[in-house]
Symmetry: C2
Subunit: 256 residues, 2 copies
């Protein structure tokens, strides 16, 4: 066995090892507020990000993403789940890994590699938490505001990267479901997509999404126990047909 530079004979004693491997989580939610109009109307929706105010060095007093150090007894995903629960009081949500942040010097505490996740949380899951927490140190920020802030560490990069990934996935997968109730109207779905991807615009959205031939059954009509279509007039005078996502997830291709 040789001692060449790419030797496999690694042993922790011979090299500097990392000082920690945390996970950080970009928690997105969509808040909805009733419009001020006296009549029924679609709510105003806004994409929000959860941030935590740091109480200790480094970046004391700055806002940053929730997160924390991984333990040797858990996987990185389990670590992120734990932090999600401990810091945001949230369980059972869609969470995905998206990148590692490892630039030397990114953390003044030492050589620390951060593993970034994003989570998509339904508004209702955060409402409980907001009651029993000191709102001054854990808060939702509107996306635009959060993007303009100077966050601790390289969390600004993480936020931008997470957002780009979520926007892409919003259009190519059915993650919109994470922000919707089981049964929803086409307008709600359209609104959610537009809230995450402001450039999204489809004048004939209803036609496309419900023409079951080409995009085969991403969603289906909700029906009651007797098979009659269910509708809702939550947001409108005229009741709208309710839909639900199916299990089907289409495969996309640029070649055909």
């Amino acid at each position: 066995m040789s001692n060449e530079e790419h030797s496999d004979a690694y042993s922790p004693e011979n090299f500097r090892t990392p000082d920690g491997a945390p996970s950080d989580i970009v928690i997105f939610t969509i808040t909805s507020r009733e419009k001020a109009t006296p009549k029924k109307a679609l709510p105003t929706r806004e994409l929000q990000v959860l941030l935590i105010k740091r109480k200790v060095w480094p970046y004391e007093g700055k806002w940053a993403l929730p997160g924390g150090f991984c333990k040797e007894t858990e996987s990185m995903y389990e670590c992120a789940l734990r932090e999600l629960r401990e810091e945001a009081g949230v369980t059972d949500v869609h969470m995905e890994y998206f990148n590692v942040y490892s630039k030397p010097g990114r953390d003044p505490r030492g050589w620390i590699l951060s593993h970034a996740y994003f989570a998509l949380v339904h508004e209702h899951k955060l409402i409980n938490r907001r009651a029993d927490t000191d709102a001054s140190d854990v808060r939702l920020f509107p996306l635009e505001e959060a993007l303009a802030m100077e966050l601790g560490f390289d969390h600004g990069d993480m936020l931008r990267d997470a957002l780009a990934r979520v926007r892409e996935k919003m259009l190519t997968t059915t993650i919109a479901r994470e922000f919707l109730p089981e049964e929803f109207t086409i307008s709600e779905l359209y609104q959610v997509i537009q809230t995450v991807v402001p450039t999204f615009e489809e004048p004939n959205f209803i036609r496309k999404i419900t023409s079951t031939q080409s995009r085969q059954g991403i969603i289906e009509e909700a029906r009651d126990s007797e098979g009659r279509p269910k509708s809702s007039n939550r947001y409108s005078q005229r009741a709208a047909q309710l839909y639900r996502f199916t299990e089907y997830s289409p495969g996309l291709s640029i070649y055909g």
Copy 2:
């Protein structure tokens, strides 16, 4: 400041820190062999993966992915680039990060979190290397064979995950270019896609890819300095039009 479990007052002395943070790289290439026919014909293409035979504990004698430990002075991506160069002799290729592997106990040497990349390498870039390397310990394996092998660590999982990711990206992005020369024929492109994604089948492939209306200009005709279309009879009696990828990368959506 409190000592509660999710305190920010982390300091390396108080907790166990990782014993290492390596990167491992799944290097894909497509080999092409001339057919045995006397006449001109399309070559036989095969997706291959580069593996290295381990010489030391753990998994001594087993085949595994190339990789190695990250240094505190480099980012994880730089680490992967270095390993790619040191272990496979490859530079300037498409490489992407795709996951972290962190299951407790995954590495008998300790608490080691591995960061997995895939690289797409043109056959030509590996040919040089194969000459000056002992072919007995660094080798290309046909994909199917590699999948059936028992690799060291959790590298079997990495290989399967990398393959799934590359297959998805082959259909949704223009990474096919990584396996093709600057200018190529439609048949070559079709073959490359099928080599990576065996289920891909498009009877009217030429029509679709060259109808510049809908999939606007993913590729364009190659032309000589006088603007005349260039063609090649590398693989056929009848010369075929050459194409090149443009910079355009289409955005896909399930909603319209």
